[in-house]
């Protein structure tokens, strides 16, 4: 079996005539934090969406823990995303009608866990992310920084092996952005989760162990640190 938890190889993807990925490849080790950087429109978010099984590439291979994602059934891939992966995006990931506590409990409820148990676990994660004060508020009533921490709690509540974070601090000021990154990285290290971190901010990428640069849909592996 490969030493890597997740491997994308020779990924191609086009939107109409526009090539979004043109032979991109990347690997993610267990517990490793990999930053994906590149200019706007370079294909870095598309690469993240492919690696996470959200969209299927036109061609190429994506192997997660020995399983090929591109040939997996939609149902199996959805289940994998729900149980093994966590997601943090820049905006709009929390359900506005639910409280923050219900939002964090949601992935567990979708996986069949009883409400009381799911909310008990969710509460622990809100405390860990230092936002238990907004548990009963709706996302619209929380600040941007609090909302992102709730989103991180929701990404971590299922005990994922990989967290996919797409510009997780993009809408936050420097101080809130830093707090969210520290909590995300610290909790991922504690739980052994890997992070695929798409960002255009070098200060955010500096939390990673390694960087992959995407330009014109192609990847350049930069370095293995230490």
């Amino acid at each position: 079996m490969s030493d890597y938890l997740l491997t994308g190889a020779d990924l191609h993807m086009a939107f109409g005539q526009t090539k979004a990925l043109d032979g991109a490849s990347m690997t993610v080790g267990r517990g490793e934090i990999v930053a994906v950087m590149g200019p706007s429109g370079s294909g870095k978010s598309t690469l993240l969406h492919c690696m996470a099984g959200i969209v299927a590439p036109g061609s190429g291979s994506i192997v997660y823990d020995g399983q090929e994602l591109t040939t997996m059934s939609d149902k199996r891939r959805s289940a994998l995303r729900r149980t093994e992966f966590g997601f943090v995006f820049q905006f709009g990931q929390l359900v506005p009608e639910l409280t923050c506590l219900e939002n964090v409990a949601l992935p567990l409820r979708l996986d069949g866990m009883a409400r009381a148990e799911a909310e008990r676990k969710a509460k622990l994660w809100l405390e860990r992310l230092e936002v238990d004060g907004v548990a009963d508020k709706r996302p619209g009533e929380a600040s941007g920084g609090q909302g992102q921490r709730v989103a991180v709690a929701r990404a971590l509540v299922t005990g994922p092996k990989v967290i996919f974070a797409d510009e997780p601090t993009g809408a936050l000021d420097s101080l809130n952005g830093e707090q969210v990154m520290r909590l995300l990285v610290d909790t991922a290290k504690e739980t052994g989760a890997a992070i695929v971190l798409v960002t255009h901010e070098p200060r955010v990428a500096a939390y990673s162990d390694r960087e992959v640069v995407v330009r014109d849909g192609r990847t350049r592996q930069v370095e293995l640190v230490q």
Binding site: P39, P202, R203, A205, A206, Y207, E211, V222, E223
Partner: protein, 174 residues
């Protein structure tokens, strides 16, 4: 900043007199700080002594300004090594990096590689500061933040320059 390397890089495009070299240097890199003649000739003497340039002819009239200098094979190797060695990531990026990019374009080398090597060195420095910041007290955090923001500005410049390399290459060639 290495004036010797900059002069060597300019000599890669062909042999020149000391005066021509000064003019080329000032045109490309010396907008704020033109080179003094004395500096040009003392640098050329050192390069000559180290075997990195050689005299390739003397025009009638004598005097150092009449000598033409050409880069040697050792000089070409020296420039090539200098170009791909990243500058020490300091808070303010030295003009040396700009000179490297222009000389790489002039000599047909990969300016993208020069920028990528620098980018890697910068991000490594930022990682070290981030680790130090996470382990330090508030004073440490503020000191590291200051350095991190400046290094980030450099990185943004590196990215923008990478995006503009094709245009810059055309301008240098014209």
């Amino acid at each position: 900043m290495s004036i010797g390397h900059a002069l060597l890089g300019l000599l890669e495009t062909g042999p020149r007199h000391g005066y021509d070299l000064k003019r080329a240097y000032d045109e490309h890199f010396g907008a704020d700080r033109p080179l003094a003649y004395g500096q040009v000739y003392s640098t050329l003497s050192r390069l000559l002594r180290n075997g990195l340039v050689e005299e390739s002819g003397v025009e009638p009239g004598g005097g150092p300004e009449r000598k033409r200098y050409a880069i040697t094979d050792a000089g070409v190797t020296d420039v090539a090594e200098w170009l791909v060695t990243p500058e020490k990531p300091e808070i303010y990026l030295q003009s040396a990096l700009y000179i490297k990019v222009i000389l790489a374009l002039m000599s047909g080398r990969s300016a993208g590689e020069v920028l990528d090597a620098q980018r890697t060195a910068h991000l490594r420095a930022m990682r070290e500061l981030t680790v130090r910041k996470q382990q330090g007290d508030l004073a440490d955090q503020l000191i590291c933040d200051h350095a991190l923001f400046h290094l980030e500005a450099d990185l943004r410049w590196l990215e923008l320059t990478t995006a503009r390399l094709a245009d810059l290459g055309k301008q240098v060639a014209s």
